[in-house]
Symmetry: C2
Subunit: 361 residues, 2 copies
């Protein structure tokens, strides 16, 4: 038997055990082809079937019509930071950004090279402890799009619901896509690095309205036009096959779990175990995020001292719970509990937190 541990890394992150077992079982011989999935031509029927099934499953899970395409690209969300404005922010026009953390700041910075930008809301003065309220959002006059980050891995905040905006809506959903139901048809473009809720790193999912996908300027490099990838069903060039294959297995697993409503219920239950340990600690554990902005994916908290925080992280590792050290810009601890984190992992962490407090409190 393989000895597996509980993986609280922010990403790359835990994958469903069943998915890994399936990938392992067929790693030398995918679907009776006599080849590994890593060896199969992307022009083969076997790979085209994976590519098509993954796109169809994503649209099915998100309830999207054929007005949308799902693309499997490379370069991570960091590449989407510039690809979105390169495709959709012409010089002289304005794009709006709502800042809720380091990733939205990076997205804004890349956009500034292409056209005008406008910060429609920011909670940076509150050290990004919270998501802005709807009344705090002030769009510019006629923005080409408004960009948000749905979940903030570093600060541990998450939009509880999405505002209704008059501008085309673009979202970086890298760290909470497919973790809960939402109205995806409200967005012109959604992007997500796979390595949190979708699969391994190395593939970026882009969900894009077809009219947007078709409007890329012909003056930018071929590989940077959404239209190139949309027209070719993500097969213009060699795709990151093994990562897309893993996404497809994860999507099958998610459908077996009951889809987004079912996984959201599990995610609430899981996160509640850890937030309860924080809230019932009498101040020993202090959450970074305001309660009404708390993320169900990344739970950030501090201890009474940095020394205790280090002890916590190292004792947790000894107890087979890894990846709990927080991001340097917030400090403290962070438990990332994406879709694939089993309930038992959150139970184990909550029990560890209570025991650690009993011993060190």
């Amino acid at each position: 038997m393989t000895e597996r541990i509980f993986n609280f890394y922010a990403g790359p992150a835990a994958l469903p055990l069943e998915v890994l077992q399936e990938a392992q079982a067929e790693l030398l011989n995918f679907d009776h082809t006599g080849m590994s999935i890593m060896e199969i031509s992307h022009r083969s029927k076997a790979y085209e079937a994976i590519n098509a099934e993954a796109e169809a499953s994503l649209k099915e899970l998100l309830g999207l019509s054929d007005d949308y395409r799902v693309l499997f690209l490379q370069g991570g969300a960091s590449s989407q930071f510039f690809m979105v404005p390169m495709n959709f922010l012409p010089s002289g026009r304005t794009a709006d950004y709502i800042l809720t953390g380091s990733w939205s700041e990076k997205a804004l910075k890349e956009a500034q090279a292409f056209g005008q930008t406008h910060v429609a809301a920011t909670t940076s003065a509150d050290n990004y402890r919270r998501i802005p309220s709807a009344t705090e959002i002030h769009l510019s006059e006629n923005p080409v799009y408004a960009h948000i980050t749905s979940n903030n891995t570093i600060f541990g905040t998450q939009w509880q619901s999405f505002p209704k905006l008059t501008a085309p809506f673009v979202a970086d959903m890298s760290s909470d896509i497919l973790s809960r139901p939402f109205d995806a048809s409200n967005f012109a473009l959604i992007y997500a690095g796979a390595q949190k809720n979708l699969g391994p790193s190395g593939v970026t999912v882009v969900i894009i309205r077809k009219d947007w996908a078709e409007s890329s300027p012909a003056t930018i490099p071929t590989m940077l036009r959404y239209s190139t990838h949309s027209k070719n069903a993500s097969l213009y060039n060699t795709p990151p096959s093994v990562a897309v294959y893993m996404i497809n297995l994860v999507l099958r697993w998610l459908k077996k779990q009951g889809g987004l409503a079912a996984i959201a219920k599990k995610n609430q239950e899981k996160a509640a175990l850890i937030y309860d340990a924080i809230d019932r600690s009498g101040g020993f554990y202090r959450g970074h995020a305001d309660k009404d902005s708390r993320s169900l994916m990344n739970i950030t908290f501090r201890l009474p001292s940095e020394e205790l925080e280090q002890t916590f992280a190292s004792q947790a590792t000894q107890s087979d719970m890894i990846g709990l050290k927080g991001h340097r810009s917030v400090g403290g601890l962070r438990a990332s509990v994406y879709n694939a984190m089993p309930l038992a992992g959150c139970q184990a962490l909550a029990a560890f937190m209570r025991e650690f407090q009993r011993t060190n409190g």
Copy 2:
């Protein structure tokens, strides 16, 4: 036992069986971490060790000094087609391209958006059956670089040796990197999609002289500057971890094979089996490439009729040899026999060719 077949795909292509077996064995628990390689944070010591070893091994195999960096990027060679001129071809300057096939044409096309280009040589009038001779190459006055494609998968040609040029030398070596010794220090930049000789698809290796890596303009998107990835040892953003891990295993395997000189000898022996079957067929099989331009990686040939070519490919598949259909722009058959293709695969194909000729000749 897994039933494996002989995989002649042009890429993604065959990987060494030992490498796949090792990846399979530890897919649920990499190096006693209790996690899959697909789940491990790229900020962990375990992943950083893989990243560093893969860079060191590539430099060791290529005999490169610390004047060079090896980067693991995303987006394939198709993204390097524009990244190279975006970084190194300022408006008003000229970059030279030597055209030996469809991939060099695509590289040229992407460069045209950034500055002047000059075709220093082309064999397109000969349907790319051959590599130009040194005397056919005429550089422009002061090019920022001269670009070549070392091996042409579609046409089945390969530079037998590289010309000495006065300009900084850039090469797309996607389909023959690490297949033979060559003087890598002759190049300012070498790029290669991994999916032929290095690993699975989803990672692009860039070997770049440090002075070049440091000279990216600050005006282009952060992710598109070589300097960003060089400064951060390919860890500026989340890397395609599993693909880099596979490269690292393939490099270990290659070193165990004896390095580039040893693998070159094997590659010559393997390709000779198939070229012999062509040359001794009395014209039944006709090679596409001129003899002095033949590729040891991709062997392209025609049969007396398209009908026979189809029969050949389908009977070969029934005999567990897959991926032999040629590219549509050349037609006929193509046997891709990269480093990982075992000698037995080439022996089986050569025997099949003789038998097919006996039955259908």
